[in-house]
């Protein structure tokens, strides 16, 4: 089985972020600079920044970058005055997610570590701390697998859920760099004072494919409700489907490109193979190390239980 779900040829510098996908020739997807229309025909979903039909996706970023993704095979960008780095930020973000849907792949909004072939993914809305927790676990010795996007192949044969790394670089705010000691690279934006940076994790895995073992929803309700600082709870049934729907990367893209029914069926299939948990923890910086240790220990218990044929460890 291939290490990546598709290959890409590009004409701009994308850094290390999708290195395993890049080829010189024979690519599945071509990324080129070119003319990008201001609208697409018969969009199913429209927002202030994108419009999407089943086969076309148009992204319009307020900084002037426009990207057209067509038929799962071509990405055309007009960067305006933006640098390659800024174009790549949006190309490998929202446009990358749309490309996955067009190619029948399910992108989850998740960061993940890899442990002995098993991928443990962390999801939650923007600001939930996915990247920071994953970077911190990498600092603890876990192998960093992906940031922000985890690509699921719903059609992959076999009993497990095959998943792929969507991004090999982290994006971290300045304070998270301090917490995780990830190696700071350039700022993600060419805007003075913008303090979010690309970063190299401490323990980067060269693997870009694995089997999804667990998906953990990051929550921050516990301390607001005056409960324990860290808890992990397995969730099932309708609640897990609901949480999984919230974990889908850009669900409006999925609705436009796949339709709601296909998305639901894919999530229902996913849930058969993957344990879903809620990790409720404080985000107060003083307790950060404790919450990372808590999760690290949980992964270790999961590994040992899995080896004994009983994966669930709440």
């Amino acid at each position: 089985m291939s290490a990546v779900p598709f290959t890409v040829s590009v004409d701009l510098n994308l850094g290390n972020r999708i290195a395993p996908f890049l080829v010189e020739t024979g690519q599945d997807v071509t990324v080129r600079k070119g003319a990008v229309p201001t609208e697409i025909l018969e969009p199913v979903e429209v927002s202030p920044a994108f419009s999407a039909s089943k086969s076309q996706f148009l992204l319009k970023v307020p900084n002037g970058v426009r990207i057209l993704v067509s038929d799962g095979a071509t990405i055309t960008y007009d960067g305006g005055k933006a640098s390659d780095r800024e174009i790549a930020l949006f190309l490998l973000g929202s446009a990358w997610g749309a490309l996955c849907y067009q190619r029948g792949l399910l992108p989850l909004h998740a960061s993940a570590i890899l442990h002995q072939g098993s991928v443990h993914a962390f999801t939650g809305p923007s600001g939930a701390g996915k990247s920071t927790l994953t970077a911190a676990l990498a600092k603890c010795g876990r192998h960093f697998f992906t940031d922000d996007i985890l690509i699921i192949d719903p059609e992959a044969p076999g009993t497990g859920t095959i998943c792929y790394s969507g991004q090999k670089d982290l994006k971290l705010w300045k304070d998270a760099l301090v917490l995780t000691q990830a190696k700071k690279k350039l700022a993600i934006r060419d805007v003075e004072g913008f303090e979010k940076f690309f970063a190299a994790p401490a323990n980067l895995s060269t693997e870009s494919r694995g089997t999804l073992a667990s998906l953990t929803i990051l929550k921050n309700d516990a301390t607001r409700l005056d409960r324990r600082l860290s808890t992990i709870e397995k969730i099932d049934g309708a609640k897990s489907i609901h949480e999984l729907r919230n974990s889908v990367y850009r669900p409006r893209f999925a609705h436009a490109i796949w339709g709601k029914q296909k998305l639901f069926m894919s999530l229902a299939q996913l849930i058969k193979n993957v344990e879903v948990h809620e990790f409720n923890r404080t985000k107060v910086t003083a307790h950060f190390e404790d919450s990372v240790s808590y999760m690290d220990a949980w992964i270790e218990r999961w590994r040992m239980a899995s080896a004994n044929g009983n994966a669930s460890e709440d």
Binding site: S47, A49, F90, S126, N220, D221, R252
Partner: protein
């Protein structure tokens, strides 16, 4: 109170969490298909009027949105809350001396001087950047008030917090009338809503089950609710600093 009032009024009416607060980052990301944390705060503002329109166009009733924002230009000449989808604004105003105390506790500290500096700063904004909520341009205490009351696009109902404490049912009736509620059962519904949301009851609920909007650093969300704490807790220099900056508006509103 409004949530309780509307729930009694119509079993099918719930305040949609999607529209819960104007600074909700997941809502922004969901609607735009972009990561707000990859955008500058000014770029986020440019998209906000369209987001309001989309929320309104998907709503089959009045959508309630809490906001800390002052009323300002989003960056392209359009107000941050567009006229064409804004029914009205219920503006809650409170004595700035009391706000200073409440604001500090809400942030989990008692550095009242720090809060007073913010309340006196015309360019004061909150959140944005790495924070869990998107940036809100709050302005100074009086700057915020003037921004909403100097515009004439969106109808504004102004309620003094102190009046709401004194005459809760009367103020709720004003709000209900403003949003178009009426009918024979309205007085009883108002009475019920007021009873269900008495401050001590909210405190008891928070004590027993917590409150999800409580900031992590704050000891509690429903802390005191009393009026007059500013005079009791702020030293005289801080009181003077607020009075000096906001004297005219404080007099207009009966706070000085």
């Amino acid at each position: 109170m409004l949530a309780h009032l509307l729930r009694d009024h119509d079993d099918h009416t719930e305040i949609d969490p999607v529209g819960s607060i104007s600074s909700n980052r997941p809502t922004f990301d969901h609607i735009t298909g972009l990561s707000s944390s990859d955008l500058t705060d000014d770029e986020v503002d440019l998209l906000r009027p369209e987001i309001s329109r989309m929320i309104a166009s998907n709503a089959d009733k009045i959508e309630f949105i809490k906001t800390h924002d002052s009323y300002y230009d989003c960056g392209n000449g359009e107000p941050i809350f567009p006229l064409d989808c804004s029914y009205g604004a219920i503006y809650l105003v409170r004595n700035p001396l009391d706000i200073a105390v409440s604001y500090a506790y809400h942030q989990g500290h008692q550095d009242f001087a720090k809060v007073v500096r913010r309340m006196n700063c015309p360019t004061h904004s909150i959140a944005g950047g790495s924070h869990t909520q998107i940036r809100q341009k709050v302005s100074s205490w009086s700057g915020h008030y003037r921004s909403w009351h100097d515009q004439s696009d969106i109808p504004v109902l102004t309620i003094r917090y102190e009046d709401m404490v004194e005459n809760t049912a009367g103020c709720l009736l004003e709000m209900a009338t403003f949003i178009g509620l009426s009918g024979e059962g309205l007085p009883q519904r108002i009475k019920t809503a007021v009873e269900q949301t008495r401050f001590h009851k909210l405190q008891e609920n928070e004590q027993s089950t917590g409150f999800k909007e409580k900031p992590e650093r704050a000891a509690r969300f429903f802390r005191s609710g009393r009026t007059g704490e500013g005079v009791e807790s702020l030293d005289i220099d801080l009181q003077r600093a607020l009075l000096k900056k906001h004297q005219q508006l404080m007099r207009e509103l009966g706070y000085a």
